[in-house]
Amino acid sequence: MEFVSPEGLRLDGRRPMEMRQIRAEIGAVAKADGSAVFEMGNTKVIAAVYGPREVQNRTQQINDQALVRCEYSMANFSTGDRMRKPKGDRRSTEISLVIRQTMEACILTHLMPRSQIDIFVQVLQADGGTRSACINAATLALADAGIPMRDLVTSCSSGYLNSTPLLDLNYVEDSAGGPDVTVGFLPKLDKVTLLQMDSKLPIDIFENVMQLAIEGCKAIANYIREIMLENTKQLEYRRGI
């Protein structure tokens, strides 16, 4: 199947190095301590953060740092074909784990010993790149909750189809079976915290593809920063400062 046309356009009309339209909104869940919606094209996720609060299960308490927990869930209506999946299947457990590890790496957990931070991400629409969208939403929600972090983590994926590196794969491109590189990145510290790839790729091409994903992460970080600045300005305005 042809994923990049001779004119250099992808199936949804993007250029190979072009990202889908992104949109973010802070404060989607009124009752949570911090929450955000993040959209990448047709992928839409909600993240909610509860905490830092008392550890619910005492046996899990850590005496010198905060306990970070994460749950990823997909709504029944999120995919094209309706399906009723049991909670806690292998895929969502794996993604929960990935998100938890990525976020834990950037939260300053040692500042909040004997407490617990819950991150819940809910996929409303899935069109490829839910992992990345979830991490981006979780970053915004954590920032909204005022939880101290080393840096914003942002995530983006890239792939390699028809001998062309492609940024931000959608569902059709993702299911084509080509390599899919997901990168989590700390833009200020200039460090990679998450790196996953399936399928196979020559090393020199891998470098390009990963670099492309990192550029995507940087673009998302800029956008997230703008959204947060806008939100802070609004808060300031409402307080009448």
């Binding site: 909610a48 509860y50 619910q56 029944n76 819950d118 819940f120 991400v121 629409q125």
Partner: protein
Amino acid sequence: MVENLKEISKSKEQAKQDQEASNYSPLEESPEFEDVQEVTSSGRREHKDEDTDQSEEDLNAGVNYNSLNRSPTLQSQQYGCAWIELGMVGLSLGEKHFIQGGIAQDIRSDGRKRLTYRPINVETGVIPQANGSARIRMGATDVISTVKAELGKPISLQPDKGKVSIYVDCSPTAAPMFEGRGGEELSTELSVALQRSLLGGKSGAGAGIDLSSLVVVEGKICWDLYIDCLVVCSDGNLLDALGAAIKAALSNTGIPRVQVAAGASGDEQPEVDISDEEFLQFDTSDIPVIVTLTKVGRHYIVDATTEEESQMSSAISISVNRKGHICGLTKRGGAGLDPSIVLDMISVAKHVSEQLMNKLDSEIAAAEAGEDES
């Protein structure tokens, strides 16, 4: 308007704190506290419902409820109802009295009267991959409902009727306790209550949705409607919000027109052609709205918040259609109700439902118009 409300809540919070200071702290410090707790920790709940005069003894009893409420096992034994577990909001005695007192005086913590709803915000077409969808926000309560239509086969007992099923999912974003399988109990309870309220009896009689309109070829092909709801944020009154969201989602739903190929006969399954362009709209005027009356003390309120729900003795959810007929009824909560009160509540619900129905219709129409423009 919003600022006014904030002012009210601010002054109320002040009052709350004052009350707390006068009621709560001396009791907590009293040395007999623990003894009293052990003596009265059983069989006091019924007592609370009838008594509204607050004697010293009653206050002590109140403290015991407080400690009871903190223990989840005791609590679920008492109510056997998942709704209440949402209400573990950790209110102080002062706050409880404040909520109860406010309801008795017809001015609630957020400035509403007993029979006033929070502002309802309707958005339609929020989930593009579904046949119809809507998101309803009532205060902090936020639910999404979607309708998906699939072609299926009618069951042999009712060859002239389609199938509709309702599933509710409680997202852990709404409350940390819904994590893992924690939301399942509430999800099931809500699904069953919604089915009872909206879909009528087992035979499909009295359903808000005309099931015979879903049939394509009698006995062979019909539409199966899957209504999936997601609770994104919960601040009380989930059932009313879900009922409204389903109504809005159904009026947003377009069912593709189906062309049946002629010539299929006998037991053969006829071939069908699903149109991409022509859609049939549903008639949603018969779909009832659900009104939940929550009884706190001697009075009942509509659209209770989580805090108010934690103070309820019992609640009745009544679904009423446009003609004023009652389509379904669910009672929950531990305390019993006098039959005459039930009848009284039904007539109040009927009255409230008219306003809610009109409000909802205009909001849905506005949302649809807004969607067409954009």
